[in-house]
Symmetry: C2
Subunit: 205 residues, 2 copies
């Protein structure tokens, strides 16, 4: 069975309709423990709550006692704990929402965790402005004309080529993290090819 979870992370609760609709339509909301008050206030029902439980108040601990999963490992952050829980529970796909809009260092850290997650499970992150997709191999993306696109290459040696983006790359490295930003789709799809990797692709909504 193909099961898709929506993970609510510890950043700002989603306001954009795209991540919000993911929450609304999901039977499997996996909530990082620091986000449970926000989820509860918004009237959503979690499927499970994952974390070290440091940030859970007694009322929430009682209300959700049957679906709380405690991971004490201090070496991984809450988002990683939630992903690991999804892996252990046979989910094949996760959509991460609520991971941005608070501490900027967490946001950057979370984005660069995505390729590691992608090695284990199909994953993307929806923010208030767009979607981050980690890719381990060349891929076609659905798009629209003038969609803003950025490419992040954590491994600066990766050779990247693009098709149907305004500023075409041809077996080029992105040695600086900002060099792949500010690109634009020229139609209803584009393609990213590369040797090495991984890459993280950002598409504005």
């Amino acid at each position: 069975m193909q099961k898709k979870a929506v993970i609510l992370a510890n950043g700002s609760f989603p306001t954009h309709e795209i991540p919000l609709n993911e929450l609304k339509s999901s039977k499997y909301i996996v909530c990082c423990d620091g986000a449970i008050n926000k989820l509860d206030d918004a009237g959503f029902e979690p499927y499970s709550i994952v974390g070290d439980l440091d940030s859970l108040n007694p009322e929430m601990k009682w209300k959700y006692r049957d679906i709380i999963h405690h991971f004490a490992n201090q070496d991984t952050n809450d988002l990683t704990k939630a992903i690991n829980w999804c892996l252990e529970n046979n989910f094949s796909e996760v959509v991460i929402v609520g991971a941005t809009g608070q501490r900027d260092d967490h946001m950057i850290g979370n984005v660069f965790l995505l390729p590691g997650f992608a090695k284990k499970i199909k994953v993307k992150m929806l923010t208030s402005y767009g979607c981050f997709t980690p890719i381990l191999r060349s891929k076609n993306f659905d798009s629209y004309t003038r969609q803003q696109v950025s490419i992040f290459s954590p491994n600066s040696e990766t050779l990247i080529s693009t098709a149907n983006l305004r500023y075409a790359l041809t077996e080029q490295k992105l040695e600086m993290m900002y060099q792949g930003t500010l690109n634009e789709s020229m139609g209803d799809s584009f393609r990213i090819e590369f040797d090495g990797g991984p890459l993280i692709i950002y598409q504005e909504y």
Copy 2:
């Protein structure tokens, strides 16, 4: 003469008192052109307006005609244009505000531009939650007990050591961008030493 400019970037207008106070106390607000409406609405007077002027309406073009500086180069973003203008006009230090809170790819791109700027001018970026400081050599930082600190190492080969941070590094590489996040100061200062670099240090307010 030591002159400090405050650059207002094209993200969300600052709401936190720390970046807001920088704007209030500055005689030299250098405004990226996409941010002039927000600055004007907030009742601040720009010292100069820098950009490709694509996003400036006729009213603003007229009102500020004497302090508008047009840079057409499409290969640099607005923040880079503003930094270059400050360099040409003999500023020795810049504080960047308003660079976050909108498109997430721009935010990441801007943070990773900081080390390049630091080679030319003293620079830091103030967000709604903390301060990013790029460093080219080992440095002591003022801090407070339990201040949240993250270290980003764009060059994954850099060997890093820390003093007075909870999770000490000793000649360690941060091969993944998230590995240096979630650290914490143990007192009123801490030290970051490294070979290679640059690094970007984030301190929560």
